[in-house]
Protein backbone atom coordinates (compact mmCIF):
# COMPACT_ATOMS: atom_id res chain seq x y z
CA UNK A 1 0.00 0.00 0.00
CA UNK A 2 1.23 3.49 -0.68
CA UNK A 3 2.20 5.59 2.29
CA UNK A 4 -0.39 8.21 3.10
CA UNK A 5 1.34 11.46 2.35
CA UNK A 6 0.89 14.45 4.58
CA UNK A 7 -0.96 14.59 7.84
CA UNK A 8 -2.77 11.46 9.06
CA UNK A 9 -4.98 13.40 11.41
CA UNK A 10 -6.58 15.50 8.76
CA UNK A 11 -8.36 14.92 5.52
CA UNK A 12 -5.80 16.02 2.95
CA UNK A 13 -6.74 17.48 -0.37
CA UNK A 14 -4.82 16.47 -3.48
CA UNK A 15 -1.12 17.31 -3.27
CA UNK A 16 -1.10 19.27 -6.47
CA UNK A 17 -4.08 21.06 -7.89
CA UNK A 18 -4.47 23.03 -11.09
CA UNK A 19 -7.32 25.24 -12.24
CA UNK A 20 -9.15 23.93 -15.31
CA UNK A 21 -7.59 24.89 -18.66
CA UNK A 22 -10.03 26.07 -21.29
CA UNK A 23 -9.37 26.12 -25.01
CA UNK A 24 -8.85 29.72 -25.90
CA UNK A 25 -10.86 30.89 -28.86
CA UNK A 26 -8.99 32.38 -31.79
CA UNK A 27 -10.58 35.77 -31.10
CA UNK A 28 -9.46 35.74 -27.50
CA UNK A 29 -5.82 35.34 -28.45
CA UNK A 30 -6.05 38.15 -30.96
CA UNK A 31 -7.69 40.43 -28.40
CA UNK A 32 -4.99 39.75 -25.86
CA UNK A 33 -2.14 40.53 -28.19
CA UNK A 34 -3.75 43.68 -29.58
CA UNK A 35 -2.00 46.57 -27.99
CA UNK A 36 -3.82 49.52 -26.56
CA UNK A 37 -0.72 51.62 -27.21
CA UNK A 38 1.43 52.32 -30.28
CA UNK A 39 4.21 49.96 -31.35
CA UNK A 40 6.89 52.38 -30.20
CA UNK A 41 5.34 53.27 -26.84
CA UNK A 42 6.49 51.74 -23.59
CA UNK A 43 4.19 51.25 -20.63
CA UNK A 44 4.19 54.17 -18.17
CA UNK A 45 6.79 53.76 -15.42
CA UNK A 46 6.40 54.52 -11.73
CA UNK A 47 9.75 54.49 -9.94
CA UNK A 48 10.26 55.29 -6.26
CA UNK A 49 13.60 55.00 -4.46
CA UNK A 50 14.03 54.57 -0.72
CA UNK A 51 10.96 52.54 0.20
CA UNK A 52 12.79 49.78 2.12
CA UNK A 53 14.27 51.56 5.13
CA UNK A 54 16.19 48.55 6.37
CA UNK A 55 18.39 48.31 3.28
CA UNK A 56 21.26 50.62 2.34
CA UNK A 57 19.36 51.53 -0.81
CA UNK A 58 16.14 50.42 -2.43
CA UNK A 59 13.78 51.08 -5.34
CA UNK A 60 10.29 50.02 -6.39
CA UNK A 61 9.30 50.02 -10.03
CA UNK A 62 5.86 49.49 -11.50
CA UNK A 63 4.98 49.41 -15.20
CA UNK A 64 1.34 48.50 -15.78
CA UNK A 65 1.21 44.87 -14.59
CA UNK A 66 4.89 44.35 -13.71
CA UNK A 67 5.81 45.23 -10.11
CA UNK A 68 9.35 44.77 -8.82
CA UNK A 69 11.03 45.74 -5.55
CA UNK A 70 14.81 45.92 -5.27
CA UNK A 71 16.97 46.21 -2.12
CA UNK A 72 20.73 46.82 -2.03
CA UNK A 73 22.95 45.88 0.91
CA UNK A 74 26.60 46.71 1.07
CA UNK A 75 29.43 47.05 0.55
CA UNK A 76 29.94 44.35 3.16
CA UNK A 77 32.84 42.05 3.84
CA UNK A 78 33.11 39.08 1.49
CA UNK A 79 32.81 35.89 3.50
CA UNK A 80 35.00 33.74 1.27
CA UNK A 81 38.67 33.06 1.83
CA UNK A 82 39.86 34.32 -1.56
CA UNK A 83 41.32 37.79 -1.65
CA UNK A 84 39.83 39.98 -4.38
CA UNK A 85 41.19 43.37 -5.30
CA UNK A 86 37.89 44.38 -6.83
CA UNK A 87 34.55 44.23 -5.15
CA UNK A 88 31.91 41.68 -6.11
CA UNK A 89 28.32 42.10 -7.15
CA UNK A 90 25.83 39.46 -6.09
CA UNK A 91 22.34 39.57 -7.61
CA UNK A 92 19.52 37.38 -6.28
CA UNK A 93 16.09 37.27 -7.86
CA UNK A 94 13.01 35.87 -6.20
CA UNK A 95 9.52 35.43 -7.61
CA UNK A 96 6.65 35.65 -5.17
CA UNK A 97 4.31 32.64 -5.43
CA UNK A 98 1.48 34.87 -6.70
CA UNK A 99 3.51 36.73 -9.31
CA UNK A 100 2.80 34.57 -12.35
CA UNK A 101 -0.36 33.13 -13.88
CA UNK A 102 0.48 29.73 -12.42
CA UNK A 103 1.49 29.54 -8.77
CA UNK A 104 5.23 29.14 -8.29
CA UNK A 105 6.72 27.20 -5.38
CA UNK A 106 8.84 29.54 -3.26
CA UNK A 107 12.08 27.67 -4.01
CA UNK A 108 14.72 29.18 -6.23
CA UNK A 109 15.02 27.41 -9.55
CA UNK A 110 16.77 27.81 -12.87
CA UNK A 111 14.58 30.67 -14.09
CA UNK A 112 15.44 32.81 -11.09
CA UNK A 113 19.10 32.23 -11.69
CA UNK A 114 18.96 33.06 -15.37
CA UNK A 115 17.22 36.33 -14.60
CA UNK A 116 19.84 37.07 -11.98
CA UNK A 117 22.60 36.48 -14.54
CA UNK A 118 20.95 38.85 -17.04
CA UNK A 119 20.53 41.60 -14.46
CA UNK A 120 24.06 41.08 -13.18
CA UNK A 121 25.44 41.51 -16.66
CA UNK A 122 23.39 44.66 -17.21
CA UNK A 123 24.60 46.54 -14.13
CA UNK A 124 28.02 45.17 -13.24
CA UNK A 125 29.96 47.31 -15.69
CA UNK A 126 28.40 50.50 -14.32
CA UNK A 127 29.68 50.07 -10.75
CA UNK A 128 33.15 51.19 -9.72
CA UNK A 129 34.05 47.88 -8.12
CA UNK A 130 37.74 48.73 -7.87
CA UNK A 131 36.88 51.06 -4.98
CA UNK A 132 35.59 48.22 -2.79
CA UNK A 133 38.32 45.60 -2.34
CA UNK A 134 37.30 42.57 -0.31
CA UNK A 135 33.67 43.74 -0.25
CA UNK A 136 30.46 42.42 -1.75
CA UNK A 137 27.42 44.37 -2.84
CA UNK A 138 24.20 42.33 -2.52
CA UNK A 139 21.24 43.18 -4.73
CA UNK A 140 17.99 41.41 -3.86
CA UNK A 141 15.18 41.63 -6.38
CA UNK A 142 11.65 40.53 -5.56
CA UNK A 143 9.19 40.22 -8.41
CA UNK A 144 5.77 40.91 -7.00
CA UNK A 145 3.84 40.67 -10.25
CA UNK A 146 5.20 39.50 -13.56
CA UNK A 147 3.84 40.43 -16.98
CA UNK A 148 6.51 39.24 -19.39
CA UNK A 149 10.01 38.04 -18.52
CA UNK A 150 11.68 40.50 -20.87
CA UNK A 151 9.85 43.39 -19.23
CA UNK A 152 10.90 41.99 -15.86
CA UNK A 153 14.57 41.91 -16.76
CA UNK A 154 14.47 45.44 -18.15
CA UNK A 155 12.52 46.92 -15.23
CA UNK A 156 14.60 45.06 -12.67
CA UNK A 157 17.84 46.42 -14.17
CA UNK A 158 16.46 49.95 -13.95
CA UNK A 159 15.31 49.39 -10.37
CA UNK A 160 18.67 47.90 -9.40
CA UNK A 161 20.56 50.87 -10.82
CA UNK A 162 18.27 53.31 -8.99
CA UNK A 163 18.66 51.40 -5.75
CA UNK A 164 22.47 51.44 -6.11
CA UNK A 165 22.40 55.21 -6.61
CA UNK A 166 20.10 55.51 -3.57
CA UNK A 167 22.58 53.44 -1.54
CA UNK A 168 25.41 55.84 -2.29
CA UNK A 169 27.52 53.28 -4.17
CA UNK A 170 29.87 54.89 -6.68
CA UNK A 171 28.84 54.23 -10.27
CA UNK A 172 30.03 55.36 -13.66
CA UNK A 173 26.47 56.10 -14.76
CA UNK A 174 22.82 55.12 -14.41
CA UNK A 175 21.70 52.04 -16.33
CA UNK A 176 18.40 51.96 -18.17
CA UNK A 177 17.03 49.02 -20.10
CA UNK A 178 14.28 48.36 -22.60
CA UNK A 179 12.88 45.26 -24.31
CA UNK A 180 11.45 44.74 -27.79
CA UNK A 181 9.59 41.92 -29.52
CA UNK A 182 9.13 41.15 -33.22
CA UNK A 183 5.48 40.47 -34.04
CA UNK A 184 5.08 39.72 -37.73
CA UNK A 185 7.15 42.45 -39.34
CA UNK A 186 6.68 45.08 -36.64
CA UNK A 187 8.85 45.90 -33.71
CA UNK A 188 6.77 46.27 -30.54
CA UNK A 189 8.56 47.85 -27.61
CA UNK A 190 8.05 46.69 -24.00
CA UNK A 191 6.01 43.56 -24.78
CA UNK A 192 3.62 42.11 -22.23
CA UNK A 193 3.54 38.37 -21.57
CA UNK A 194 0.89 37.59 -24.20
CA UNK A 195 2.73 39.67 -26.80
CA UNK A 196 6.08 38.07 -26.09
CA UNK A 197 4.63 34.60 -26.47
CA UNK A 198 2.99 35.54 -29.76
CA UNK A 199 6.21 37.09 -31.08
CA UNK A 200 8.94 35.33 -33.02
CA UNK A 201 11.87 36.84 -31.09
CA UNK A 202 12.77 39.34 -28.40
CA UNK A 203 15.68 41.68 -27.69
CA UNK A 204 16.57 43.27 -24.33
CA UNK A 205 19.08 46.13 -24.36
CA UNK A 206 20.66 47.75 -21.29
CA UNK A 207 22.80 50.86 -21.64
CA UNK A 208 24.19 53.91 -19.84
CA UNK A 209 22.79 56.92 -21.75
CA UNK A 210 25.04 59.37 -19.88
CA UNK A 211 28.14 57.73 -21.34
CA UNK A 212 26.44 56.54 -24.52
CA UNK A 213 27.55 52.95 -24.18
CA UNK A 214 25.72 49.64 -24.05
CA UNK A 215 26.17 47.33 -21.06
CA UNK A 216 24.33 44.23 -22.24
CA UNK A 217 22.20 42.84 -25.05
CA UNK A 218 20.10 39.66 -24.81
CA UNK A 219 18.46 38.32 -27.92
CA UNK A 220 16.25 35.26 -27.98
CA UNK A 221 14.08 33.69 -30.64
CA UNK A 222 14.20 33.90 -34.38
CA UNK A 223 15.11 37.07 -36.27
CA UNK A 224 17.45 38.31 -38.95
CA UNK A 225 20.55 40.28 -37.96
CA UNK A 226 19.01 43.34 -39.58
CA UNK A 227 15.87 43.15 -37.45
CA UNK A 228 17.95 42.57 -34.33
CA UNK A 229 19.95 45.72 -35.02
CA UNK A 230 16.77 47.71 -35.64
CA UNK A 231 15.34 46.46 -32.34
CA UNK A 232 18.52 47.52 -30.57
CA UNK A 233 18.31 51.00 -32.07
CA UNK A 234 14.69 51.47 -31.02
CA UNK A 235 15.47 50.22 -27.54
CA UNK A 236 18.43 52.58 -27.32
CA UNK A 237 16.24 55.57 -28.15
CA UNK A 238 13.70 54.59 -25.49
CA UNK A 239 16.41 54.08 -22.91
CA UNK A 240 17.20 57.79 -23.06
CA UNK A 241 13.60 58.55 -22.03
CA UNK A 242 13.74 55.99 -19.24
CA UNK A 243 17.01 57.54 -18.03
CA UNK A 244 15.31 60.92 -17.58
CA UNK A 245 12.57 59.24 -15.51
CA UNK A 246 15.21 57.65 -13.28
CA UNK A 247 17.03 60.97 -12.90
CA UNK A 248 13.84 62.78 -12.01
CA UNK A 249 12.81 60.26 -9.36
CA UNK A 250 16.27 60.32 -7.74
CA UNK A 251 16.32 64.11 -7.61
CA UNK A 252 12.80 64.28 -6.18
CA UNK A 253 13.66 61.70 -3.55
CA UNK A 254 16.76 63.63 -2.60
CA UNK A 255 14.99 66.95 -2.19
CA UNK A 256 12.22 65.26 -0.22
CA UNK A 257 14.68 63.49 2.11
Amino acid sequence: MAQSAGDRRRINGPEESFSPVFDDDEEDIKLKTQRSRAAGDIRPIFLQPGLISQANGSAYIETDKTKIACAVYGPRQTKTTTYSEKGRLNVEVKFTPFSCMRRRAPIRDAEDRSLAVSIHQAIVSSIRLELFPKSTIDVFITIIENDGIEGCIASASVAASTALADAGIEMLGLVSACSAAIVGDDIHLDPSEAEARASSGTVILACMPALDNVTSVWQSGHMTADMALKCMERCHERCIDIHSIVAQSLLEHRTAA
Partner: protein
Protein backbone atom coordinates in the same frame (compact mmCIF):
# COMPACT_ATOMS: atom_id res chain seq x y z
CA UNK B 1 32.68 78.00 -7.07
CA UNK B 2 30.91 75.00 -8.50
CA UNK B 3 27.14 75.35 -8.82
CA UNK B 4 24.67 73.98 -6.27
CA UNK B 5 22.88 71.55 -8.55
CA UNK B 6 22.53 68.00 -7.30
CA UNK B 7 24.53 65.78 -9.62
CA UNK B 8 23.62 62.23 -10.63
CA UNK B 9 26.02 59.40 -11.50
CA UNK B 10 27.38 59.88 -15.01
CA UNK B 11 26.46 63.56 -15.14
CA UNK B 12 29.28 65.79 -16.39
CA UNK B 13 30.48 68.42 -13.92
CA UNK B 14 30.60 71.96 -15.21
CA UNK B 15 34.00 73.43 -14.34
CA UNK B 16 35.41 76.85 -15.15
CA UNK B 17 38.19 76.83 -17.71
CA UNK B 18 41.63 75.88 -16.46
CA UNK B 19 43.42 72.74 -15.34
CA UNK B 20 41.21 70.04 -13.79
CA UNK B 21 41.35 70.24 -9.97
CA UNK B 22 42.30 67.33 -7.71
CA UNK B 23 39.40 64.89 -7.65
CA UNK B 24 38.29 63.42 -4.37
CA UNK B 25 35.64 60.78 -3.74
CA UNK B 26 32.47 60.75 -5.79
CA UNK B 27 34.00 62.06 -9.03
CA UNK B 28 35.93 60.49 -11.87
CA UNK B 29 37.70 61.56 -15.03
CA UNK B 30 36.87 59.91 -18.34
CA UNK B 31 37.88 61.08 -21.83
CA UNK B 32 38.92 64.43 -20.39
CA UNK B 33 35.49 65.06 -18.82
CA UNK B 34 34.91 65.10 -15.07
CA UNK B 35 31.72 63.21 -14.14
CA UNK B 36 29.95 62.48 -10.89
CA UNK B 37 29.70 58.94 -9.56
CA UNK B 38 27.40 59.67 -6.59
CA UNK B 39 24.15 61.55 -6.07
CA UNK B 40 25.13 64.84 -4.44
CA UNK B 41 26.51 68.36 -4.73
CA UNK B 42 30.14 68.88 -5.77
CA UNK B 43 32.03 70.98 -3.24
CA UNK B 44 35.59 72.13 -2.75
CA UNK B 45 37.25 70.58 0.31
CA UNK B 46 40.42 72.65 0.36
CA UNK B 47 42.08 72.12 -3.02
CA UNK B 48 40.12 68.94 -3.77
CA UNK B 49 36.77 68.76 -5.51
CA UNK B 50 34.60 66.03 -4.03
CA UNK B 51 31.05 64.84 -3.50
CA UNK B 52 30.71 64.05 0.18
CA UNK B 53 29.17 60.76 1.18
CA UNK B 54 27.51 60.41 4.55
CA UNK B 55 26.91 56.69 4.08
CA UNK B 56 28.97 54.01 5.71
CA UNK B 57 31.83 52.69 3.61
CA UNK B 58 34.37 49.90 3.97
CA UNK B 59 37.70 50.75 5.64
CA UNK B 60 40.48 52.05 3.44
CA UNK B 61 44.16 52.67 4.29
CA UNK B 62 44.46 55.43 6.91
CA UNK B 63 40.83 55.20 8.00
CA UNK B 64 40.21 55.75 11.69
CA UNK B 65 38.23 52.78 12.97
CA UNK B 66 36.57 51.79 16.22
CA UNK B 67 36.19 48.13 16.99
CA UNK B 68 35.58 45.57 19.68
CA UNK B 69 38.23 42.98 20.57
CA UNK B 70 36.77 39.54 19.85
CA UNK B 71 39.67 37.11 20.19
CA UNK B 72 43.22 37.16 21.50
CA UNK B 73 46.13 35.05 20.41
CA UNK B 74 49.82 35.31 21.36
CA UNK B 75 50.55 36.99 18.03
CA UNK B 76 47.55 39.18 17.37
CA UNK B 77 44.24 40.54 18.62
CA UNK B 78 41.16 40.10 16.42
CA UNK B 79 38.85 43.07 16.27
CA UNK B 80 35.33 43.46 14.90
CA UNK B 81 35.24 46.90 13.22
CA UNK B 82 31.96 48.73 13.78
CA UNK B 83 32.71 52.41 13.04
CA UNK B 84 34.72 53.65 10.05
CA UNK B 85 35.77 57.32 9.86
CA UNK B 86 33.07 58.36 12.29
CA UNK B 87 30.24 56.63 10.40
CA UNK B 88 28.79 53.53 12.12
CA UNK B 89 28.29 50.44 9.97
CA UNK B 90 24.85 48.82 9.90
CA UNK B 91 24.32 46.15 12.56
CA UNK B 92 25.57 42.75 11.46
CA UNK B 93 27.77 44.16 8.71
CA UNK B 94 30.98 44.47 10.69
CA UNK B 95 34.38 44.07 9.08
CA UNK B 96 37.11 41.96 10.62
CA UNK B 97 40.41 43.48 11.61
CA UNK B 98 43.57 42.29 13.26
CA UNK B 99 46.13 44.08 15.49
CA UNK B 100 49.46 42.28 15.30
CA UNK B 101 51.88 42.47 18.24
CA UNK B 102 54.32 44.57 16.24
CA UNK B 103 51.59 47.14 15.61
CA UNK B 104 50.36 47.55 19.19
CA UNK B 105 52.83 50.21 20.26
CA UNK B 106 55.73 52.17 18.87
CA UNK B 107 58.40 51.24 21.45
CA UNK B 108 59.69 47.77 22.49
CA UNK B 109 57.67 46.10 19.79
CA UNK B 110 59.21 42.69 20.35
CA UNK B 111 58.39 42.56 24.06
CA UNK B 112 54.62 43.00 23.74
CA UNK B 113 52.35 40.68 25.71
CA UNK B 114 48.90 40.80 24.17
CA UNK B 115 47.14 40.04 27.47
CA UNK B 116 48.67 43.19 29.00
CA UNK B 117 47.44 45.38 26.14
CA UNK B 118 43.95 44.19 25.24
CA UNK B 119 41.26 41.98 26.66
CA UNK B 120 38.12 40.62 25.09
CA UNK B 121 35.29 43.15 24.89
CA UNK B 122 37.52 46.24 24.91
CA UNK B 123 36.58 49.05 22.55
CA UNK B 124 39.68 50.01 20.63
CA UNK B 125 40.48 52.96 18.37
CA UNK B 126 42.97 52.27 15.61
CA UNK B 127 44.09 53.20 12.14
CA UNK B 128 44.00 50.83 9.18
CA UNK B 129 47.50 50.30 7.79
CA UNK B 130 46.64 47.94 4.97
CA UNK B 131 43.89 45.82 3.42
CA UNK B 132 45.54 42.79 4.94
CA UNK B 133 44.46 39.36 3.75
CA UNK B 134 41.15 37.92 2.64
CA UNK B 135 39.67 37.74 6.11
CA UNK B 136 40.83 40.85 7.95
CA UNK B 137 42.23 44.34 7.70
CA UNK B 138 45.49 45.19 9.51
CA UNK B 139 45.08 47.82 12.23
CA UNK B 140 47.68 49.69 14.26
CA UNK B 141 47.39 51.30 17.69
CA UNK B 142 50.98 52.56 17.78
CA UNK B 143 50.22 56.20 18.51
CA UNK B 144 49.44 58.16 21.66
CA UNK B 145 45.83 58.75 20.73
CA UNK B 146 45.16 55.13 19.66
CA UNK B 147 44.41 52.12 21.82
CA UNK B 148 41.76 51.06 24.31
CA UNK B 149 39.08 53.69 24.81
CA UNK B 150 36.61 51.77 26.91
CA UNK B 151 37.09 48.62 28.95
CA UNK B 152 35.21 46.77 31.69
CA UNK B 153 37.09 45.56 34.72
CA UNK B 154 36.84 42.07 36.22
CA UNK B 155 34.40 43.49 38.77
CA UNK B 156 32.14 44.74 36.00
CA UNK B 157 32.65 48.50 36.19
CA UNK B 158 33.95 50.65 33.32
CA UNK B 159 37.54 51.62 33.96
CA UNK B 160 39.32 54.97 33.73
CA UNK B 161 42.77 55.32 32.11
CA UNK B 162 45.56 56.15 34.53
CA UNK B 163 48.51 56.10 32.15
CA UNK B 164 49.21 54.73 28.69
CA UNK B 165 49.79 51.29 30.21
CA UNK B 166 47.22 51.08 33.00
CA UNK B 167 43.53 51.46 33.74
CA UNK B 168 41.86 51.68 37.12
CA UNK B 169 38.57 50.17 38.23
CA UNK B 170 36.53 52.73 40.24
CA UNK B 171 34.70 50.03 42.27
CA UNK B 172 37.62 48.01 43.59
CA UNK B 173 40.53 50.37 42.95
CA UNK B 174 42.48 47.63 41.18
CA UNK B 175 44.84 48.50 38.34
CA UNK B 176 44.60 46.49 35.14
CA UNK B 177 47.08 46.67 32.31
CA UNK B 178 45.88 47.91 28.92
CA UNK B 179 47.40 49.92 26.07
CA UNK B 180 45.25 53.04 26.55
CA UNK B 181 44.52 55.84 24.14
CA UNK B 182 45.26 59.36 25.31
CA UNK B 183 41.94 61.16 25.92
CA UNK B 184 41.31 63.99 23.51
CA UNK B 185 40.86 66.86 25.94
CA UNK B 186 44.22 66.42 27.68
Amino acid sequence: MVSDTTLLPGQPVFLPRGPTPNLGGGLYLRDGQVRASLVGVAQYDGPTLTISRIRSHPPATNSVVLGTVTRLSPLQAMVSISVVDGVPLPAGEEFNGVIRTQDVRATEKDKVKIGDCFRGGDVVKGIVISLGDARSYYITTARNDLGVIFATSEAGASMEPVSWQEMRCPKTGRIEKRKCAKPENM
